[in-house]
Every structure is written in C-alpha cells, then in structure tokens.
Symmetry: D2
Subunit: 188 residues, 4 copies
C-alpha cells in the first residue's frame, strides 16, 4: 500500500473583509499540520484572484487546479451567508471538475449565530457530490465565530476545539486514505 | 386597494460566456412585458460589475439595491452549475437584505441536460427564504437549453413555453400582489 | 377585510415514544392560544392512526383533511431524525394536497443536540413549497430539548422562549392574514 | 484483498398501492444480479411491516438490520412524493444506524413527471450522509415511470436503461469495494 503522505490542503472559502473564517482556517490548518503522514497547504481564495466576468472551467487557475489534482482530500472552511455558501467560493470550485473525483472533503462551517453554519453545510452537499467529492459525515462547526478567538487569533476554548477537530480529521484522513487506495488499485 | 402597476424585474443570473440563460431570460422578459398591470426591467448581473474582493452588504450597488427595493416580485433566470447556483449570482444577491423582505420570487431554471435545473432550484430555496423572499411553487424549467432557441434567439416550441410561463407568471403576479397588499396594509 | 379569527393549528409531528417534541408542542400551543384573533387546535399525529400500508391521498383521514382545509396557517413542531424529517410526519402530510395551497406554515425544530434542528428545517423546505405552503422566514429552534423542560413539562427559561416564539408567531400571523386576504380577494 | 462477492441488496422504498417503482426496482434488481462478483437480495419495505406507533432504533426489524449489517452497498429505488422522500422509507431507514456506516449507496429516483425524481434525490442526500452512507455521484433516473414498462413489467427502451444502469452500477460496485477495503484494512 502507498505510504506517501496524504496531501490535504485547507481552503479558506471567503473573500469577505473582516471574515471570522480566517481565524478558523488558520486554527484548523495548524491541526492538520500536526497530523503524521499528512501534508497540507493553506489556500486563501482571496489570493486566487479569479475573474468575475466568466465562470466554470473557462477561468481555470492553473496553480489551484494543480493543487486540487494533487490533493487526496480537502478541508473547506466556509462561512454561512444567508443560509447558503459564499458566491466566490462556488465561483472558484466550479472552475475544476475531474480534479476532484473520488477524493474526500470535510467541511468546517463558520457562523456568527449559534447553529454552526449547519445550513450552509446542507446547502453545499449536492455540489460536493456532483463534483465527485465524498463529504465525510463529521463536520467542524464554529458558532459565534467572532468571539471564539482572541485578538491574536488564538482560540479561547482550545481543548474543546482541538478534540473536535481531531475527530473530524481522523475521519477525513481515513476517507482520504481509503479513496486514494481505490483510485490507485481498484479499476472502475 | 393599490392599483399601481406591479414592478417585477427579470434578473439574468450568470456571467458565464456563451450562457444559454440569456436567451431564456430574454424570452421570459418578453412574456412579462405582455402582462397587463406589470412593469418590468431586464437586469444582467454581468453589467452590475460587483467587485470580487469583498462580499455582502459592503459591496452594495446602489442601482441594483434600488431596483430590488422598488420591486414587488422578481424573476430569477438561473443556470445549474454542478447542481448548485452560480457563484456570481449569490455574490450579487448577498449584497442586499431588507430590500427583499416579503416579496415574491419565481425561478426559471436553465440546464444543458434534461432535468430543468430542478436541483439548482432546490439549492436556492433556503437562500431565498433567508432573504425574506417567498418562492412561488411554480417554476420555469428550460432543459436542453442550448437547443431550445434558433440562431436569432427565438424559441422553437413557442406555444408550449408561452403557455407554461403564462402559468408561472400568473402565480408570480398573484403572490406579488398579495404580498404588496400585506406590506402596505397589514401591520406585523 | 375579513375579521374572522385566523385558524392556526399546532401539529406535533412525531409518533416516537419519549418524544421531547411533545413538551415543545404544548408550550407553543399555549403561546398560540394567547394570541388575540387566533383560534387553534392541538393535533398529535400519533392520534391520527394513518395506516402504514399505503400512502398519499389514498389514505386521507377526513378529520385531518378538514382541519387543514379550515386552517389559515400551520405550526409544525418537528424533531430532527438523521438530519431529515420524521417519516410518519411525511406520511401524514402527503395525504393532502389542495388543502394546503396558499397558506402559511411556521416550523419549530426540536433537536437533542445543539443546532436547533436547522438541518431538518432545510430538509422540509422543498416539501412545504410543493404542498403550496409558504414557509415563513422565522423558525422556532429548540436545541437540547430533553433538558429544556422540568418533569411537569414547564419550560425552564420561559422568558427567552416566550419572546422568541412571540416573534415567530408575529410573522406567522402576518403571513396567514396576508395569504387569507389573497385567497379571498385576489383572483389568480 | 478480499475476494468474497460484494453484497448489494436492492430496496424498494415505497409502500404505496400502484407504485411504478416496483417495476423499476425489479428491473434494477435484474441488472445487479447479472454483475459478476456481486450478490443481491430484493427488499420490499412493504413486507417489513414496521409499526407506525413508534420510530427509530426502538422498532428495529432484526432481519432488515442484519441485511444492512451484511451489505457492502445499497441500491435504493425511491419515488418522489411532493419533492421529498416517502415517509415510510424514512421510517424504515431511521431504525438502523451503525449498520450503514462507511458503506456505499446508489439512488434510483422514480417520478411520474419529467425530472427523474432529482428533487427527491437532493432531499435524501443529507439523510444518507448522517447515516454514514456514501452516496455515489451517479443516479438512476426514471422519469414518466408509469409509461416506461409494458403490462408484464418489461421496460420498453431496454437498451438505453441497461446502459445507464450499467454505468450507475459500475460506480456503485467500485465505491462498495473501496469502502469495504477501508473498513477491513484501514484503521480510523
């Protein structure tokens, strides 16, 4: 069996100024980095500078596509806007297709209110599936995100969140490993 | 009772090059124009030029907000991308909030394949609701949209589609009228 | 304008033994009863005894259909089971159709966990719409429902929940009134 | 690697009289039987006789639970009722939990109308995920199901549907195999 490290980038899925999701994404990124046998990278969709005048595979950003191509799994850190996903994240995700197929994804939802962005996660599920991604059945939920971190971006209740994200990443790593085995060894 | 004409703009909800939705939106726009007691306007979100570096109410486009403010109902013409809604449409919609409350919306789904973009419509429902819009229970469904029109943008099977959109608009006009009555006469 | 009281029954949407939703439904029912100009009734779907061997309009229960026919709005009190709605509630709801059209519905979600059954509410939205119901954009959310009530079924944090349900009912009454006006005065 | 045949039962997910889904389920069942290396069984939820007076794990039917426990993947054949899933199917599915974890599921949607029950499939996705099932990204779609079969239950356009279901089953078998490998060889 393949013993190469898994590659699981963390994608910060909003461009909005003052986004609380940035702290969440950095926190989750640190947790992924600690995992043995996992390599990661931090992707801020604000840095990708996708054009707003077209969409879909026509606006492929080579470096983003290559990153998705290389990935065995993805962590998406995503705020909830009006019970849906951020438009710019969808704009970016739609630019790839075959790059995602038979890979795992775990979603960390970020909300101002108390429900952990669960509605955004439900809203993303059909999109993930159509992209060929397998959404694991653990989520990260960051309710009241503006108050979860101190001014240096350190999470207040570290123990709780480290434990939860550990469980989430355990499942994501498992699914990433299993699907990689499938892609490499089991023919369709 | 208010006898002012209803204002129901038609919004073309994609910026993608070669969008089949443009023909659909123009066709639907013509049908709305024929309705007595209804005024309309054609809005192409490509023309709105929303910035991609921020999101939400921070990027309000005054003319679009005023249009939504004035509207009694909306027609959204929207293609299905990966079983979800186009990112740029969500980006635009998220820039308003109170402008939409207690108004009606009807959705025309546009798909390359055979299922009338029904999955995109389901995906939009929770967003519409959170924006305060009431989604009517008739949809416009334009399957196989690339082949529905001739090179001049005229719809091939005019009779069928005129009849269907007539039913759709009947319901949308009804709901727009009813909700306008409520906004103007019934206190919360 | 019609000054008859609105009729807004409260439907307890689960048959499960030990259901925490029963306390929630009774609490909400008391709040509806206090509203001036509103009549209500308590419906426990366990009492309806729908057969399990068929489904849809074939198993119409006359008294339930008449109640829906008479209603101007509905309150559904519904637990979340596996991120969806209870099967028996859907079984019951599917037995009517025209009885619901152009009426308002407000959903109170009940969950053992912390997210107020928001996922169940998202899951119900397309069904409500297809039934012709308008789902208002306020919900009741009862997280950790097993611990919200004392052994006599009295809610611990009464003030908070009375206030929230008051807002929810304000919106539901408004929408019920507006749609009744529409049904009675505005032709399609 | 495990060379035992995969076990992939076909579940007919409605109890309704006159259900067109029965023909679909039988047709799909025949296709599964032809697959080398796959064992199957036909499960009609009407035969399971789940009680309607309770729900969840309290009403476990031992034989159904054991079947799910043994399964490596599931085919669900499900009609769309009011844009959602049949209540009795949810009632049955909710009776298990750990039996489903890390197994594959493929959904065949059955509709009277023209959209292949896509809305029901979207509605099932969050439930499948919470049950621990991985929904593959091919579906079976049977539009206009009442007219797809002759009076003996033979499908009219056999070639088309055999080809489509073949693709669907190819993906389902792949995912079932991959996840079985994971369950048996990769620790969480």
């Amino acid at each position: 069996m393949n013993t190469r490290p898994l590659f699981i980038p963390v994608i910060l899925g909003t461009v909005r100024q003052g986004r609380a999701s940035e702290n969440v994404a950095k926190f989750v990124f640190e947790q992924v980095k600690k995992r043995e046998g996992v390599e990661t990278e931090f992707v801020d969709i604000r840095e990708l500078k996708f054009p707003g005048h077209d969409a879909g595979e026509q606006i492929k950003d080579t470096s983003f596509s290559q990153l998705c191509e290389r990935a065995d799994g993805l962590v998406l850190v995503v705020p909830e806007y009006n019970h849906g996903y951020p438009g710019m994240l969808k704009h970016v995700l739609d630019s790839n297709l075959k790059e995602y197929i038979h890979k795992a994804v775990g979603i960390c939802g970020v909300s101002a209110g108390g429900f952990g962005a669960t509605r955004m996660i439900e809203n993303l599920l059909p999109v993930m599936r159509e992209l060929g991604l397998v959404t694991i059945f653990w989520d990260g939920n960051f309710s009241g995100a503006q108050k979860l971190f101190d001014e240096n971006g350190a999470i207040h209740d570290e123990e709780t969140y480290v434990k939860r994200i550990d469980k989430f990443l355990g499942e994501l790593v498992w699914m990433s490993k299993v699907l990689r085995y499938g892609r490499e060894n089991i023919s369709l």
